[in-house]
């Protein structure tokens, strides 16, 4: 007797959805909870290292949009001194070509992705704004050394809110798949 014929399939389906009631929801409540991003994310902004930059403007030439504006003058030791380094993030498409082109590792993609502004003038970033800071961390895109130091991405499902959203709880089922990406 095949029980597939006697409505047992419907019963199986109903049992499956009923089990879902007791699983923790996988919803990420965005502003309070955030997923960790890939180590090689091409985030919304660039990180620029003042001391490494020689002002060669390779990045500006690599940029397909022409977003990067560099103005330099010749300094005392026959080097370039960067007067102005401006990136118009409003027109940037985050292709990462400038980062790949830089011969001195002076540029890196940022890890942030919440950089929307109310005014267009605010997304044009100056030399001071582009430098490394607490909120502006470099990602490992085209920078293997940086990537090695970053924590691996995980497909976390639940955040432990008691510990300030820092420690991650894993859903039992996705443990295998949840290893670093």
């Amino acid at each position: 007797m095949k029980f597939e014929r006697y409505g047992i399939g419907i019963a199986k389906g109903m049992a499956l959805t009923f089990k879902h009631l007791f699983r923790p929801p996988i919803t990420v409540q965005y502003p309070e909870q955030k997923l960790s991003v890939s180590r090689r994310i091409r985030g919304n902004e660039l990180v620029w290292y003042l001391d490494r930059c020689t002002g060669c403007a390779t990045c500006a030439r690599a940029c397909p949009q022409g977003n990067i504006e560099i103005v330099t003058h010749v300094g005392s030791e026959n080097n370039y001194v960067v007067d102005k380094f401006e990136v118009d993030c409003g027109r940037c498409m985050f292709c990462g070509l400038c980062v790949e082109a830089c011969p001195y590792n002076a540029l890196a993609m940022g890890r942030g992705y919440e950089r929307s502004q109310y005014r267009r003038s605010d997304v044009i970033l100056s030399k001071e704004q582009l430098q490394l800071s607490d909120v502006r961390q470099p990602s490992g895109y085209a920078r293997p050394l940086i990537e090695a130091g970053l924590p691996k991405q995980n497909l976390l499902v639940n955040w432990n809110l008691k510990e300030g959203g820092q420690k991650l709880n894993w859903l039992g089922l996705s443990k295998k798949r949840g290893r670093g990406v």
Partner: protein, 370 residues
């Protein structure tokens, strides 16, 4: 003696004129029932969205108010502010009238729903017949909405509505007759009072038939053919917006609430239950029934049109007739028998019938091995 009649007698005792007591008592009753219905409908909308979310491992709306309870109010405010668009070639009068025809019968049903002992607007002696008659009017509203919209999808939905509602009305009524035979009355209050054992245990097959038919009648998944999003976009209310759409929406959930109330009354022994107050028992049972409906919506895929009609005419209708014969024989020949013996007999009969009839609905009529 219902609470409303008592209230009227109380007003008469205060030396109110007869007409004033009649009018005031009636108005108070209507307002109380309307408030009950509208509040419960709003809670239903929230309840369905949250529960459906949990079935799909989501959270559902949880931002507005505690646990998102005010989300339906926000939705209502949004809908109220929308523009009311009538298609240029629509039949304007019928297009305007259709939402009303859908919504008003739903409210009329609640006149005979006994929420508690005596808490009923009008204890009609033909209560359940009234429910069947009034709820069938909604089909006309949906049909005229589809017709007046001058839209092919709406018209397809209208045709489907008529086919579906007419088909499922038969087994629905036959399942009700089984209950009426056992209760010996058409009055909703007396049906509840006659249930020493809830009829869901005494007539499991009748309950299954009635429950599936109510889901088909209120056009919910898996019988939601007339608003099948993937086939005919939104069905009969495709050309409706603003408050008219809200009327359809409220009507749909009002229908769900009404039928949940009727399932509770007919099969789950209404307000009866130990420890808790009767009205709380009633609401708990209504939410259990609605939760089951949401559960089915979360699980089962939509039927095809021919499967839908086949299920009604080849599956539910013969089973309902056989169920009616079994119940009639039990009532006629075994009126004094211990009810628990009937319970065992009826559950066995239900199991055998379901097994027999499920063979009809296998792939290829059971001929093809899959």
């Amino acid at each position: 003696m219902t609470l409303l009649q008592n209230f009227r007698l109380f007003l008469d005792g205060m030396n109110w004129p007869d007409w004033a007591a009649y009018l005031v008592a009636g108005l108070v009753g209507i307002i109380v029932v309307l408030a009950f219905v509208l509040v419960l409908v709003i809670v239903f909308i929230w309840f369905e969205r949250r529960l459906l979310g949990r079935f799909q491992i989501r959270l559902g709306p949880n931002r507005l108010g505690p646990e998102g309870i005010f989300q339906p109010l926000a939705t209502a405010a949004k809908i109220l502010m929308k523009e009311d668009i009538v298609p240029a070639k629509a039949d304007k009068i019928i297009h305007w009238l259709a939402p009303v025809i859908v919504f008003v019968p739903v409210l009329l049903i609640f006149a005979v729903v006994p929420i508690s002992q005596g808490a009923i607007l009008s204890d009609l002696n033909v209560g359940i017949v009234y429910v069947v008659a009034v709820s069938a009017v909604s089909a006309i509203g949906i049909y005229s909405a589809g017709w007046a919209s001058n839209n092919k999808y709406a018209l397809i939905a209208a045709f489907r509505t008529v086919a579906q509602m007419v088909s499922y009305e038969f087994p629905l009524v036959l399942a009700i007759i089984g209950v009426v035979l056992m209760a010996g009355s058409l009055s909703m209050t007396e049906i509840v009072e006659s249930q020493t054992i809830p009829y869901i245990i005494l007539q499991p097959l009748g309950f299954v038939i009635f429950f599936l038919c109510t889901i088909a009648e209120m056009n919910r998944s898996p019988f939601d053919l007339l608003e099948a999003d993937s086939e005919i976009v939104a069905g009969y209310h495709i050309e409706y917006s603003g408050m008219k759409f809200a009327m359809f929406y409220l009507g749909e959930y009002g229908h769900a609430l009404a039928y949940a109330c009727i399932v509770t009354t007919l099969f789950l022994s209404g307000w009866k239950g130990p420890f808790l107050p009767p009205i709380l028992w009633f609401i708990i049972k209504v939410f259990l029934v609605f939760g089951t409906i949401v559960w089915m919506r979360a699980t089962l895929p939509r039927l095809r049109v021919d499967q839908l009609m086949g299920f009604a005419w080849k599956g539910l209708l013969p089973m309902a007739i056989i169920n009616l014969f079994i119940v009639a024989a039990e009532v006629l020949w075994l009126p004094e028998i211990n009810l628990w013996i009937l319970v065992v007999v009826n559950i066995a009969a239900a199991g055998i019938l379901v097994l027999l009839w499920s063979r009809l609905f296998t792939l290829g009529g059971g001929r093809v091995e899959v």
